[in-house]
Each structure stands twice: as C-alpha cells, then as structure tokens.
C-alpha cells in the first residue's frame, strides 16, 4: 500500500537504517541528527527495509527492534518488501518521509485497525524521569478495536485506539499488565509481568490482529533518562565541629614555640 504524507504531520518518519549512500543524499542541516529506531509489528512476515534505494535491514524479523541510528534531518524514501523481493513490489512504501532534527523517533511497521500493513512514526518522550520513577508508554498498533490497559487489575490507560499512545511516569519496579477490550473485562492480550527499570522508558506495542488471533506485544526500551536524587542529607548532629579543635591546638602550639623561640633569642642576647 502507499502511504499518504500525512505522516509528515507528526513531523516524522524516517528510515531504519541508512547506508552511507543514503546519508550522502540527505540534505545538510546545521541541527543535530535524530535517533531513529524501527519496530517490526507485523506477525509472520520477515521483511527487507530499503532507505533511499539502499537495503538497510535484511530479513528483519517480526517482534524485533532495530536501531537506534543517528539520521540527519531530511526526507527519506522508505520501502518495505518481502525478503528478496524487488522494491517495485512493496508491502509498505513511504516517499519523502520527513525526519526532523534532534528528535528520538520510532517507526513502527504494523497493521492498521482494519488489518492493512502500514508504517507509523512515533516521537519518543526522552525527557528525564524523576529519581525513582520509570516511564511506561503503550502504543496501540494492532488490528484491534479500542482497548484499556490494566496494571494490577486496574485500568491505567483507557480507550486507546490504533495508532495512538498513552504514557505515564510511575514508580520503578515490576508490574503485571494486561489488555482488555475498552470498557470490558474481555482480555485481548493476557497478563504479563514487566520490569520497569528506574530511569528508563519502556514502550510496549500491541501488535498483530485480533481476527487473525495473532495479538501480542513488542517492547522497546530507552535508557539513560534517570535523574539524580535531590541531594544527600546525611548529618544533623553537628558533631564534626565539636571534635578536636585542631586549629586551637595549632595556635597554642605556635604560641608556645614562639615564646620558647623568643626566650632563646633573649638568652643569646644576655650571653652576648
């Protein structure tokens, strides 16, 4: 299928992995490159990914994550084919996809709500998380209706639809989460345990097809978003200052030496 350039509305779209040739054709910008990752969320169909005509991912497997790569801002042509197929018979094709500068982006090859292959760009929130916290992002990229995401049995994200995301910064640790059809208790994706490491963002993609009974999840992790504690308060006694007053000892010693020294000088004068 051919994707309209509405993708650029999200200010995104880039390519997985660009070969040197592709990089050379990208327009030069003063701003920094973007970090671009690619998530494969179409079950049962390995693919090759071409960027600006160069094969950059070979036999890319479903439920895996490629990247991140540094891509200069610019426009990229992306073609996704069955392994070995020519670019003239694409599964997904995006022309002139815009990659902005200085962003962190994930391109997700997935199914639309009605089951057609597509490529959706998401801008990743890589702002720092508070000390002790972790970021959880859930993206609905499955051929399925609206869903609720539950953690510990309670809905945390409600009425999430394809291709949208919900996110929250929560206490780091292990949570058990499942996905139900929105407003129901009908489980779409059974409960799974996931460990949200402090200072990271865990992005969980719901992928596959409800009709095809291939619903599942793919996870992407972004590290290095940690903050420091506000400070290290570790003393309220003030005992350090009541300790041996070295300064006074030194002063007294110096005075003593000075006195003795003066005495010596006096005695010498007397002798002289």
């Amino acid at each position: 299928m051919r994707i309209r350039r509405t993708l650029a509305g999200l200010a995104v779209v880039a390519a997985a992995t660009v070969g040197a040739g592709a990089l050379a054709t990208a327009p030069a910008h003063a701003a920094g490159p973007s970090k671009v990752s690619v998530v494969h969320g179409i079950p049962g169909q390995p693919v090759d990914v071409y960027v600006n005509g160069a094969k950059t991912l070979n036999n890319f497997q479903p439920s895996t994550v490629a990247g991140p790569l540094d891509l200069p801002a610019g426009k990229y042509d992306i073609v996704i084919v069955k392994p070995g197929d020519p670019v003239s018979s694409p599964i997904i094709k995006v022309d002139q996809a815009a990659v902005p500068a200085d962003a962190n982006i994930t391109l997700v090859a997935h199914l639309t709500a009605d089951g057609k292959p597509t490529l959706t760009p998401f801008v990743n929130d890589v702002s720092k998380v508070a000390a002790g916290k972790a970021r959880l992002v859930v993206r609905h990229t499955a051929a399925a209706p609206a869903v609720d995401v539950r953690a510990g049995g309670q809905p945390v994200f409600k009425n999430l639809t394809n291709p949208n995301e919900a996110k929250a910064d929560i206490a780091a640790g292990t949570v058990s989460a499942d996905v139900v059809l929105a407003g129901t208790t009908t489980v779409a994706i059974p409960a799974a345990s996931l460990t949200l490491a402090e200072g990271t963002s865990t992005i969980v993609y719901a992928v596959g097809s409800a009709e095809g009974k291939t619903l599942g999840v793919v996870a992407q992790k972004i590290e290095g978003l940690h903050s420091t504690p506000g400070g290290v308060p570790s003393g309220t006694g003030g005992l350090l200052e009541q300790r041996t007053p070295w300064g006074w000892y030194a002063l007294a010693t110096a005075a003593l030496i000075a006195a003795v020294g003066a005495g010596v000088v006096l005695r010498r004068r007397v002798r002289a």
Partner: protein, 202 residues
C-alpha cells in the same frame, strides 16, 4: 619570628587538604565511545529484572569501620537520597549500578552523625585518602576490593551529582556523607564529602 610562625599556621592546622583526585573522577565519568558497525537489532520481549548484586557490607580498615549496607532509594517526601535512619548503617542507591556492573558509579551514602544518635558510620569518612582500601561484600557473598582514588568536598549547592549518580563511565564506588561547617539553626552541614574508589587490581 613569632609573626613568621603565625603566618604558617594554616599549614599546621592538622586538617588534610579537603579535595584530592578530582581530575581522576572527571576522567572516570567520561562515557566510552559507542561501538560502530551494523544496525543493532534486539528482541522485543518484555523487560524482566536483571540479576543485581547488592552491596551488603562495607569494611574500611583504616577507619576500623564495618557497616551493614541497606538497599535504599528516594525519600518520597523530599526527593533526596533515602539515607538509612540508623546512623550505624549505610545505604546503597538501588536504582544505580550494583556490584555486578561493568560501568557507572555504585553509590553508598551514610550519616556522618545525627542529633539523636550521635556519631554515624561515616563520621571519619573525610580522613580517607588515595590508596586507602575499601572492601565490599555482595548479596551473593562475593568480596570486592576497591582503592580510593579521590576525596572531594563540595558545598551541597554545588555538588555535581550527575557525576556521582552516573550509569556510564568506568565502574567505580562512590561514598557520600556530610561535612564542612554546621548550621546549628537548620541543623544541616554545608558540604558533602565524596570518596571515589576504583576496583583494586587483582
């Protein structure tokens, strides 16, 4: 002559130079250059907890110190490092690297003292100097030896916490406590004393 001696007083005070080894600490904190090569591809399995070796016991021979190490995090009320309430125990920052780490700063903080309990485990921490030996026993029973490479003193308002709570750079052990002048009104010390140690050569 007396004047000469008085001028020399600051050098006779018996106090060690407050900071030593700062440049070493900066160098250790520099992240390694990323490897270049093909496009990395990872599996998309949900993340599970990695095996972490928590420090369980800290021994510092020079200070005749042997303290239990608790795994601690953030004080929810203040956002500060949750230093263990008992001054006899010290706290390992469980969100940062553990003893198994191959990069980053393993942080242990402890009280210099407390108004209620008196002297803390880290009361004499500022006496450590490059070359002194620290011994840390892990939750798995393993013992790791570290050698002090730096002692630094910063005003709390200026302490570069990013450097000490880093998860990249060379693996190192960082001990933190309070020091400097004490404000009797707020009951806080002005400074943090920071000891940096590297794994001893085997």
């Amino acid at each position: 002559m007396a004047a000469l001696l008085l001028l020399a007083l600051p050098g006779c005070s018996g106090e060690p130079a407050p900071s030593v080894g700062g440049a070493t600490v900066s160098a250790l904190a520099s992240p390694a250059a990323p490897a270049s090569g093909g496009v990395p591809v990872q599996g998309g399995a949900l993340p599970s907890g990695a095996a972490v070796v928590a420090p369980a016991r800290l021994e510092i021979g020079k200070l005749k110190l042997a303290a239990r190490v608790d795994a601690v995090g953030i004080d929810a009320a203040t956002g500060d490092f949750a230093v263990p309430p008992s001054v006899d125990e010290v706290g390992w920052y469980r969100f940062g690297p553990g003893l198994e780490a191959t990069a980053g700063s393993i942080v242990i903080a402890g009280h210099v003292d407390s108004a209620e309990q008196g002297k803390g485990a880290f009361f004499r921490l500022r006496e450590l100097a490059p070359g002194d030996v620290l011994k840390v026993t892990g939750s798995d029973g393993s013992v790791r030896v570290f050698t002090v490479v730096a002692r630094e003193v910063f005003a709390k308002t200026a302490v570069p916490l990013e450097r000490y709570f880093a998860r990249d750079g060379v693996v190192r052990l960082t001990l933190i406590t309070c020091g400097g002048p004490f404000d009797a009104r707020t009951r806080h010390y002005r400074d943090n004393v920071v000891i940096t140690a590297q794994p001893a050569a085997r």
